[in-house]
Amino acid sequence: MDFSYTILIPLIPLALFVILGLFSKKIPASISGWMGSIGLGVTFVLSYYAAYQYYLNGKLNGVYQPFIYKYNWLNFTDKLHIDMGVLIDPISVMMLVVVSTISFMVNLYSIGYMKGDDGFTRFFAYLALFSFSMFGLVLSTNLFQIYIFWELVGASSFLLIGYYYTKPSAVSAAKKAFIVTRFADFGFLVGILIIGYYTGTWDFQELNNPEGSVITNWAATSFMGLSVITWALILIFMGGAGKSAMLPFHIWLPDAMEGPTPVSALIHAATMVVAGVYLVARLFPMYYFVEDGFALQVVAYVGAISSLFAAIIALTQNDIKRVLAFSTMSQIGYMMLALGVSGYHGHDGLGFMASMFHLFTHAMFKGLLFLAAGSVIHAIHSNYLQDMGGLRKYLPITHITFLIAALSISGVPLFAGFFSKDEILAAAYENNMLIYISSVFVAGLTAFYMFRLYFGIFWGKEKEYEHTPHESPMSMTIPMMFLAFMSIAGGYIHFSKYISPDHMPFEAHLNYYLAAIASTVGLIGIVLAFIFYKKENNLSERFSHAFGVFYKWTYNKFYFDEIYLFVTKKIIFGLVATPAAWFDKNVVDASMIGIGNVTESFSEKIKGMQSGKFQDYAMGFISGGVVIAIVVFYLWIN
């Protein structure tokens, strides 16, 4: 089978980026949006074709085979080198489908959403750059290639968050996102360097081979009680946690909502933020086998805690995009914990499969939630829940699609989220009771905050709108309808037939007992939201009063931003950088000037005359040097 055409999938957006970027002033807005959409449409078709071809025919003796096309890009040492290439295997093909679907839909949607913006062409150029980098990331054949594209998605995220670059809040959000993830990437890079040095390879096929020398030799090295390879995996996960907004690197994600809403849908909900999950999944055999899965335990707990933490914060936020951002963080926590509790062989790989399944369905319904939120914002020009209410009459399509997505994320039976979440809970139930209970609780919280949004936006009392809100144009509603379709239909794909850690299909069945518990908890959340928010009432205020301090802490996101601000502004800038600048001026430089002055007065004394200043100095130094030189020669010759 030949998959070499998949190389076109990243190259088409790259070409688009170059063309739109270089001629952003020349290409009129009416053309650039369609250029972007057609280009991404082609990648969409190619990705679906690749998926069709691969999942149907990619098996040999019942095992999915990898297909690799690569060439040598940069040589470091005799062993270590970076390849650039394409790796086709079950999870990369699944990611191609996700990324191309959301990219294509967001491109279409943006034609309507960004209409009239004076940076229209620039916007589509950035989108194309992002799609290129993201495709490159998912198709990577080795750890260093993934790092390269990892940095590139970070940069395109920076450009897109800061798209409204005259707005100070957007600029600082963009900076924050880049610097926080860069800090996490520092860990990632050190992890890569460790892997390179101790194993001599970065190639995924060699690293992930369960019988290979890398996995079997993990015990050969140790540092502070753990294998060096375990440390490397934890550091690599640090990079993943940064991109995927896990604790404690999550602070950039809510601020990133300053970017245009289609960007939030594409990058900060569906694709880039799940790169961390993808990274762990990519190295899953290493995480699972090295040191009996110690690093994987870290992944599980970080995921579980982030998931709970974010769901609690999401309860109290008033900016609808920020609620969705925390919801994203919470759902990614789900995916992480599912990976964390997963085994490797056969049915034990349920968690791995569930994580990828949830990644897929989440991309569809969360992408849709953002697009629908964008449609609401487009109609009433506000992000805040208190400015919304009763919009179901004016925005019928947005209303229905939002409802479908909300039902899906809340895990209501027959919607996509129900199936994927059930697999995650089943995997957690089989392996870790504590994580299971926390996850079920999160499922209830999710349903509650999601329907708080739904009732708050579409029901309740109508607010005074500047002009009558109207439904968005077709270019925006069609992508929403497509994603709504996927938010239901996506759940009926039998993921276990296609995706498993050992690339062998297995049978996974719905666990009715667990599904019933989860659905009940979800429904309770929805009912509570209905009581609190369906009609205007003061129940929610009374509750927030009753919770007092806890409410305040939650509303302020547990003061994480303040802690970071304190560390950067007060400690790094105030106690390190400023003294460094002072030290340089008043100690290092001053002592150099001091030496100059001493020499000057010395030479003046010797010469006993005052000529031009420069000559004085220069003569002082040169004659000094010559004197030393002569002395040295003299000593040497004798």
């Binding site: 005259t166 100095y617 040097g625 030189a629």
Partner: protein
């Protein structure tokens, strides 16, 4: 005439021709023409070199040797390997870009271009020299015009800055001259030959360890002062701040590279045992420079100071890599020299363009410039991203070579310093984004800036010339690495 000496002769002819010009228009055309010839020759040199290399295994090719002072056995001796070839190209590109950027220099244009080209003559001569004496002469030719260029065409406390710069570099050359003579007087040990300054001949003898230990730090500090080694870097921020744009470009872009090149070609090649013995000490200084320069850059208020401290950090990385003694790190050091040269020249050019229009370099007073000057703003952002090591640009290739190379040492000392150096990627992101975010983005800080003139064609050409090689190295690094590798081999063999 041999192909290498032309690199000195063409600038000299250009300088003479400039003597006959009358006004700005004439002198810039003459300067540009001369330097375009130079650029053409240097591009030709790559192909000529690759062709020659295919049939010639010598360490240096295109060697030409003429007796200069017979009684001291001083020769005028030139030759190149891949390292000097790439440095020559870098110089030629930056000089031409610098001429474009100074298209409208209004004060004493003729003298300005003459000084600029004399400076570049010194640099070209330095890179082709095989004889320590010739090399030292060219080094001084490059440093002296700096004083005039800053003192006359500079801004701010220019005389003071020019003085500090010249003095510190002179002090360094005094130290260097001692070191070079020390090498000279040891150059016939174990042979019956004459004392010699020829690098290739000296490399055949084994200078006694005691002498190596004595002279290595002199040569190293002598050159590394020019490469902004902590704590001998303080001439650079004030010098850059006062220098006119093209001079800053040439200075940070090329002249500071003489430091790293000299360290490699002279100190480490001729005194390998001294280098190994001293490496830990200088490695600590270099690592401090990497982090300290980056931290220093965060809090600066003047754009040129930010860039000067950034250079301390990035050139610290060059010295750091040189002291790692392996092929990968050395490869990285050379690519980092190229990359930093191009990027810092771009930054200085851009700062000059902003300063020329707004008459301030104060970060606090600037803001939202991208809205008014979209081209300059976009290039500024790209340069910033390239500077902080984004893949696809040259900086990434250089840094990854350095980090992977440094990681080959598995003792705690090297590990700690390497991780410290790697951490600079975070600090670099902080100061670059802080600067770009403040001056280019955000709301327009001053309503007077609303009508700043757009970028002119010559500014665009100058920037494009610098950006294109940055992208080429970043996207297609394979050829460069292979080309350099063969020329690095002799240096490795000296360590055994």
């Amino acid at each position: 005439m041999d192909i290498l000496s032309l690199f000195v002769i063409v600038p000299i002819i250009t300088v003479i021709a400039l003597g006959f010009t009358k006004d700005l228009k004439q002198s810039r055309i003459v300067a540009l023409a001369g330097m375009l010839v130079q650029l053409g020759m240097s591009i030709n040199l790559i192909f000529a070199y690759l062709k020659e290399r295919a049939v010639n295994d010598d360490i240096m090719v295109f060697v030409k040797d003429i007796m200069w002072f017979e009684q001291f056995n001083i020769h005028y001796s030139v030759g190149v390997d891949a390292i000097s070839v790439v440095m020559i190209i870098l110089t030629a590109v930056i000089v031409v870009a610098g001429i474009f950027i100074s298209w409208m220099v209004d004060d004493l244009p003729k003298e300005f271009f003459i000084s600029l080209i004399i400076l570049s003559t010194g640099v070209f001569g330095f890179f082709i020299s095989l004889d320590l004496f010739t090399m030292f002469v060219f080094y001084e030719i490059a440093v002296i015009p700096m004083y005039l260029l800053i003192g006359i065409w500079g801004s701010g406390p220019r005389e003071n800055s020019a003085m500090k710069l010249t003095l510190m570099l002179m002090g360094a050359s005094a130290l260097l001259s001692v070191g070079i003579f020390g090498i000279y007087f040891n150059s016939n040990i174990g042979t019956d030959g004459l004392l010699t300054f020829n690098i290739l001949e000296i490399a055949q003898v084994n200078i006694p360890e005691a002498a190596q230990n004595l002279f290595f730090p002199m040569v190293f500090i002598g050159f590394a002062t020019l490469g902004a080694l902590f704590p001998f870097h303080t001439w650079s921020p004030s010098g850059h701040a006062s220098a006119p744009t093209a001079v800053s470009m040439l200075h940070a872009g090329v002249l500071m590279k003489l430091g790293g090149y000299g360290v490699f070609r002279v100190a480490m090649y001729l005194l390998p045992i001294g280098a190994l013995n001293w490496s830990d000490f200088f490695l600590v200084l270099a690592s401090i420079g990497v982090v300290y320069g980056a931290l220093g850059a965060i809090m600066q208020k003047d754009l040129k100071y930010i860039n000067a401290y950034a250079s301390v950090s990035h050139l610290g990385l060059v010295l750091f890599a040189l002291l790692m003694f392996n092929k990968t790190a050395w490869n990285g050091a050379i690519i980092q020299s190229l990359s930093h040269g191009l990027l810092t020249a771009m930054f200085f050019a851009l700062i000059g363009m902003v300063y020329g229009r707004t008459h301030t370099r104060d970060v606090a007073k600037l803001g939202g410039i991208m809205k008014v000057l979209p081209f300059i703003g976009a290039i500024y952002v790209i340069t910033g991203l390239a500077y902080l090591g984004l893949p696809g640009f040259s900086g990434f290739v250089a840094e990854m070579n350095i980090f992977v190379g440094s990681f080959q040492h598995d003792d705690t000392f090297h590990r700690v310093l390497t991780i410290l150096a790697v951490s600079s990627i975070v600090v670099t992101a902080v100061y670059i984004l802080r600067m770009v975010g403040k001056i280019m983005m955000g709301p327009l800080s001053n309503p007077e800036y609303a009508n700043l003139p757009k970028a002119t064609w010559y500014e665009k050409v100058g920037l494009a010339m610098l950006l294109i090689p940055v992208v080429i190295i970043g996207v297609m690094p394979f050829g460069l690495g292979e080309m350099l590798k063969e020329s690095i081999q002799p240096f490795l063999e000296r360590l055994q």
